[in-house]
Symmetry: C3
Subunit: 157 residues, 3 copies
């Protein structure tokens, strides 16, 4: 696969991921990852300090499925939706079939009552592999800019 | 036309549309649509419920022209400008010459006095046709995330 | 170079510029410009009126370097980070090796204490040249939508 072609597929993966969450198709969210994967939401300060503990850490597709099941069944929270703004996708390099990418994001949250706010900004640090031409996240780290974490983080970033 | 080429033209159409509004070239806004067209601004809740009535509904280029004429002449409102953030354009399929696309947007509004706020977030659901190589919106539905509508919706989304 | 190829490189230049600032690699920021260059931050109202004086004006790479040196050493300000959202890059034309582009931007600012706000929205008006296949800004004008300028403009837009 040429770099251009891989880049195009990776961009669409990142776009589809965002639409999947914003369209509330959360049951499909784990299918964007490889079976054995790493998904983490971590603050910029902790990430840069090399601290391994994120706000959320999942190490398999099964754990991602669990998150959605509990979100649908167990969690009690005020209804809200996300809108992801994806910016400046940079597919930087490939080694042994693993592609590295960095992307900026902002999530705007709209509460059921109508309040709109900038919920989170940051960047995705991704490692992507292709399984039979289909790109999947092997590693997706969401590094958010703030030190402060909103207590209401139910829907994935 | 290849899918790649059509996709590139459609992306530029969506970008130019945003710049047209943000640069206050509103007289050009109707030229992005086919003569007989459908433009609607509707809440997510109403859209998903299949309710046909939007906040704004126009069914021809002439109606779009009328909106701009009244905006320039009749409406009285506090001066403000928009900035569109366009994200994750996904050209999904083509059938009988009609292309389907989905795009996330956020509009930041800056009032003349300086107040900046997130005015609207949502997605565009588009149907696009080519007239002699030039892409045009046959159908553009702006589905906004909030239930609440700002009373000040003069400039098109 | 084909238009498509130039466009791809210019988009990556604009993306890398944004990541450079957001990742706090400010020492690299001047390397995105030609030796003799023009960088200006100016309000929309002043820009449209043809007023030549911006909030910030630099006319050489050396002046850009100076800004970063004083930012690192002399300025005293509350710590904060930026997140650029880049939208709707339009590479419009090329003449005598100079490419013209227009891009919308929004900068979200996160203070050390955690406050998140929309700091600035506007557009970049760029003139780009290639030096041995590498695109550089010869001219970058940041036209912000608001009349009001935040007193805290230390980090470049």
């Amino acid at each position: 696969m040429t770099h251009e072609k891989a880049e195009r597929k990776i961009k669409n993966l990142i776009y589809d991921y965002a639409h999947c969450i914003d369209d509330d198709c959360l049951e499909e969210w784990p299918t964007f990852f490889t079976e054995k994967c790493f998904y983490q939401v971590i603050s910029r300060v902790d990430y840069e300090a090399g601290l391994p503990v994120g706000v959320i850490t999942c190490t398999s597709r099964g754990m991602l499925v669990d998150r959605i099941v509990s979100l649908r069944n167990a969690n009690i929270y005020e209804p809200h939706v996300y809108r992801h703004l994806i910016s400046a996708i940079r597919v930087r390099s490939e080694k042994d079939g693993v592609w590295n990418a960095q992307t900026s994001y902002t999530v705007i949250r709209t509460m059921d009552e109508g309040d709109i706010s900038v919920f989170s900004t940051g960047k995705y640090i991704d490692q992507i592999v292709f399984e039979v031409d289909k790109p999947l996240f092997q590693n997706r780290i969401c590094v958010f800019d703030s030190r402060r974490v909103d207590t209401l983080m139910v829907i994935p970033i």
